[in-house]
Amino acid sequence: MTARPNQPERYYNYAYLDEQTKRMIRRSILKALAIPGYQVPFGSREMPVPYGWGTGGIQLTAAIIGPDDVYKCIDQGADDTTNAVSIRRFFAQVADVAVTEDTGKATIIQTRHRIPEQPLKAGQVLVFQVPQPEPLRGLEARETETRAMHAYEEYGLQYVSLYESVATYGRIASTVGYPTMVDERYLMSPSPIPKFDNPKMGDNEAILLFGAGREKRIYAVPPHTSVRSLDFEDYPFETQTWEEDCALCGAEESYLDEVVLDDAGTRMFVCSDSHFCADRRAAGHIGPMADHELAALETEPA
């Protein structure tokens, strides 16, 4: 018979990782929260998924999850993609937690590359998985040098990438992993979330945790911390906009995915946040293609 999560024999490696590892990760998380935006090195473990599939995020979740948590996992905003479903099932199994697709009910939301449209509340934790935690890496290959730059706040180099973008495209064209300044001190890569989501990070009520498994770094944005997206005085930061509204729910202000429907070039734009879109449709909002077969509301058995 399997031991229940809060029985003593499940304590040792509850949520997959052993206790010592989880303590080590929790110490790193506390340090990361104490120094917003600073990349704390940690002893990343082998996980049962390959590097690049979210080992950093999974380790963070495993370190903070408890039997009373309600867990939600999204991939590019959607609850029903393969990666999200697999990771959600993994934690349902190893941590015996309740799972949900409801952004408001979840206590821990693990995310790949999106921040939910619904504003987060105090008490929630948003866990990001990060492939490359160092925003300066593309311009400076030496770790010793980038560490010195962070230590001495020498962030002029990051503007070279923005300059390059304006010179090439006439505007700051980078759309994902847009560099941010946390608490006016540390330069931070927000993981590959679209820059559409950058403004949501500033003064957020929830805790934002970032884990890079392969690069062995944890960093965090504590609640109510300023997060500023870098820009030039004459080229201010701006987010993406779409000419269309969501084809299913008619949302005007959400991040849209383009879905190609056939070989003839038919396409639709739908909310990338599947729960947000489903909620709106349940509340009676209707978009121009609301009767399309993709609109069928499915609840995935956890």
Partner: protein, 268 residues
């Protein structure tokens, strides 16, 4: 009465850079030993000598990139006055290097970021100094590309698409745009063919005179030394064997090694 000649005024001012008994050894191998000299504003100092004589070691020590084994390097910083640069803490030293110095490498690949455009390379020092206005940096970049006689239409080309001489010009612009007071040059014309070399030297000489820069230029090319330098230091086996005004050293070398060096220049 007060019309003191300019040369005397400069000579009486405090030195811009003072090097005192600088020694650098790599284990048992001596890089340079007991090197002392002073450099004043607007002065161009040439360091000549054969390969392995300690020229580059000396330059790296002076430019704050290689801590010496003993001795001191003092620079007249705008924030702290005349200070031992290795006595400064690291952020202050890096800031001083960023704001007041330039370093032109022999190989432009060492001094440029090859993955970003020539324009961005030239503008980077401005961004490092806190400039956050794209339009202003763009026009400053274009102005500097004109000054180093590059085609401004190629501002957004990557450095690899420029010829060696052009890359070197980009590097020169990048190291002068932020208005440094002291520029280090390590064989700036090495690896270039003679006609390109002559044009670059001409340009460097003009810029240095116009901007009143102090320059320390390391070279093994006597012609470069003759054209650029006011004063020369001749090095051999890590020691300074002779110093003096350029014309004096080249026309009337005293030390046997200097005589050898001067007489080895190929005549056409």
């Amino acid at each position: 009465m007060n019309a003191m000649p300019k040369a005397i005024a400069i000579a009486q001012a405090a030195p811009l850079l003072r090097v005192d008994k600088l020694t650098k050894s790599y284990g048992h191998v001596v890089g340079c030993r007991d090197v002392s000299f002073e450099l004043r504003r607007g002065e161009v100092l040439g360091v000549v000598g054969e390969s392995g004589s300690g020229k580059t070691t000396l330059l790296n020590c002076i430019s704050g990139r290689l801590p010496p084994s003993s001795g001191a390097v003092e620079f007249d910083t705008s924030r702290f006055g005349l200070t031992d640069i290795y006595g400064l803490n690291e952020p202050d030293r890096r800031r001083m290097q960023r704001e007041e110095w330039g370093f032109v490498h022999q190989n432009p690949r060492d001094g440029l970021r090859m993955r970003v455009s020539g324009g961005a390379n030239v503008a980077e020092p401005l961004m490092n100094l806190g400039n956050r206005h794209y339009g202003k940096m763009r026009s400053a970049t274009i102005e500097w590309l004109e000054r180093v006689e590059l085609d401004t239409r190629r501002i957004d080309d990557k450095p690899r698409n420029f010829s060696g001489g052009m890359q070197q010009r980009i590097q020169v612009a990048r190291n002068l745009i932020h208005g440094p007071r002291l520029v280090f040059m390590d064989e700036p014309t090495g690896g270039l063919d003679v006609s390109v070399q002559a044009r670059l030297l001409d340009l460097l000489r003009e810029l240095v005179r116009d901007l009143g820069l102090a320059v320390i230029i390391v070279t093994h090319d006597m012609a470069v030394a003759r054209l650029m330098a006011d004063r020369l230091i001749v090095m051999k086996d890590g020691f300074v064997v002779e110093t003096g005004l350029t014309d004096q050293v080249l026309d009337d070398p005293q030390h046997p090694y200097s005589q050898l060096l001067v007489s080895s220049v190929l005549q056409i």
